[in-house]
């Protein structure tokens, strides 16, 4: 059962070779055994999962089961789940129990999915190491060859990535604001896709930067991600930026191939500092696509280097506004004080961790009168130039191929102390977020330490199908079947 993909589990459930309750019990047992070491779950919903699995078995017996019937998933603890604690990995929401369901999770439930629990993340999705979580860091299931040094899983969807990699869920949901699905997918050797902005509803997903936040699936294979995205995506009147456009059956695009596809290789994604292993793997990826019939084209995205500083102005400005709601009055933690102002101050000081405080302060500063034009407005204009870079490139090519991250996973103890150095982890993922175009990361190989490395495919608006097709070609060529040191299967 440890080697099941979501697609093979779905088949086994349909053919009644496997029951949903056995499958769910298997994952709950694996979590119990292994998650003490990994910490990928903040909350495990054992009773709900079992009840859901029994209901799924009843439905499967009728032969009329919905698409995800009986498939156990982990849900990033940023999606509000009705009656189940939702923390955003922050102390300020430590005991928050939403009385409603996010649209994405409600879509998954309607399709019969089973939720094993809520997965760990960087506090309010702000980080790329999962070390800012108020519920403790997550341990990457992978180890460098011959060492037991604990490594970060990436972030912010670090728990979601680690859970899939360690065999503690068939798939998970993530959210991606500047790389929070793709970078942890790369660090943990799994697949993850950030769809086009507006493809998945943001309703009920705790907001970080509203013009960038986008939900997406994380799983072992391209096929699994295609199955999950079809369920998660769709128009939602409750989100004003949701796009009213039919959701294709992404699975049908998987075997389209890349014959005649034009693949752009942006020269700005090859800085002098790019590690040799990553440069070599990127070249390998290019060769895989060329061998499968794609045409490789050199392209330029001239404003790439401005992506990160632009992101850190726009995202932090939006975050400072979004996080103003945590005031200790209507929900969340409160620290009592003599006056209302003191109550706000004490509540927010106690409730937010250091990185969140830093970002709120920065965001408030760049929006303040006198600095608004110099920082925020200028950044919004540079964002237009970054978007134009992609639109221009997509006049001549169909997809772009780049590395996902500038490094493999690093140790908790190697995390830089300078925030700017940490932000640089997202250098290759942020530009696509700024433009709102879809992008995925797939595990393409291992580095010299035996750690997974991801490659990123970026596509035109709403051309997720092209990404899945190209991704599937690369997945087959890569034949990535390596397993991390910490895996449910090793303890069976």
């Amino acid at each position: 059962m440890h080697d099941l993909t979501l697609a093979s589990a779905r088949k086994a459930l349909r053919e009644r070779r496997l029951s949903a309750i056995d499958l769910t019990d298997h994952f709950l047992a694996a979590i119990k055994k292994l998650d003490g070491d990994i910490n990928s779950y903040v909350t495990v919903t054992e009773d709900q999962a079992r009840a859901g699995a029994r209901a799924a078995d009843a439905l499967l017996a009728t032969g009329n089961a919905p698409s995800l019937c009986g498939l156990p998933l982990g849900i990033k603890d940023l999606f509000c789940t009705n009656g189940v604690r939702t923390t955003a990995s922050s102390n300020i929401l430590r005991d928050f129990v939403p009385p409603y369901e996010s649209t994405v999770t409600s879509n998954l439930l309607a399709d019969g999915a089973i939720f094993l629990g809520k997965t760990n993340l960087d506090e309010f999705a702000m980080g790329s190491t999962n070390m800012t979580s108020a519920f403790g860091p997550v341990t990457n299931p992978w180890r460098r060859k011959g060492t037991d040094v604990s490594l970060v899983p990436g972030g912010s969807s670090g728990g979601s990535a680690a859970a899939v990699a360690a065999g503690l869920a068939l798939g998970t949901t993530g959210t991606d604001t500047g790389g929070s699905i793709r970078q942890p997918a790369s660090y943990c050797g799994i697949t993850g896709i950030k769809p086009t902005y507006g493809r998945c509803s943001r309703f009920g997903t705790i907001a970080f930067a509203s013009s960038l936040d986008q939900a997406g699936p994380m799983a072992r294979t391209m096929e699994d991600c295609a199955i999950l995205l079809e369920s998660m995506a769709g128009f939602d009147p409750k989100d004003s930026t949701s796009v009213d456009r039919p959701v294709p059956r992404y699975e049908d695009a998987l075997e389209r191939g890349v014959k005649g596809l034009k693949v752009g290789i942006p020269r700005e994604y090859r800085p002098d500092t790019l590690p040799d292993d990553i440069a070599a793997l990127w070249d390998q990826g290019i060769a895989w696509l060329r061998d499968a019939g794609a045409e490789i084209v050199d392209v330029s995205l001239p404003h790439t280097k401005y992506g990160l500083p632009t992101y850190y102005i726009v995202a932090l400005a939006e975050a400072s506004s979004n996080l103003a709601r945590y005031d200790g009055v209507r929900f969340g933690e409160r620290v009592d004080a003599a006056s209302l102002d003191e109550l706000y101050e004490a509540t927010r000081h106690a409730g937010f961790g250091e990185e969140v405080r830093r970002r709120i302060l920065m965001g408030t500063y760049v929006l303040s009168s006198g600095y608004y034009d110099a920082y925020y407005l200028r950044a919004q204009k540079v964002r237009t130039l970054i978007q134009r870079d992609f639109l221009n490139a997509f006049d001549t090519v169909d997809v772009l191929l780049t590395p996902t991250a500038p490094s493999a996973a690093f140790a908790h103890s190697e995390r830089p102390t300078d925030p700017v150095q940490i932000y640089l982890n997202d250098i290759f993922t942020v530009p696509a977020s700024m433009a709102g175009v879809p992008a995925l990361s797939l595990p393409a190989g291992l580095d010299h330490d035996g750690l997974p490395l991801g490659l990123q495919l970026i596509g035109r608006y709403f051309e997720e199908e092209t990404l899945f097709a190209a991704g599937r070609v690369m997945e087959k060529a890569a034949g990535f079947t390596h397993r991390p040191a910490l895996h449910a299967g090793a303890f069976a």
Partner: protein
């Protein structure tokens, strides 16, 4: 923290070298069509749900320390 914030601000200064003459600000992707809906109640009778996470409440009200003397 003060030093780190100065560091971040120094780092974003590089945006000043970009020529933004006549470039409009990007407000969003522009993919979603702005839409209006009828001004009607689509939900309601959720008082208890709305109050269910209140740190402190009295009857149908959220409570805070006294504001007006």
């Amino acid at each position: 923290m003060r030093q780190e914030l100065s560091g971040i601000l120094g780092w974003v200064e590089q945006l000043n070298e970009v020529d933004i003459t006549d470039v409009p600000p990007m407000i969003g992707t522009g993919l979603a069509t702005p839409r209006l809906r009828d001004d009607v109640v689509t939900d309601g009778d959720k008082r208890d749900a709305v109050l269910s996470n209140a740190p402190d409440s009295v009857g149908p009200y959220f409570t805070v320390p006294k504001v007006v003397e």
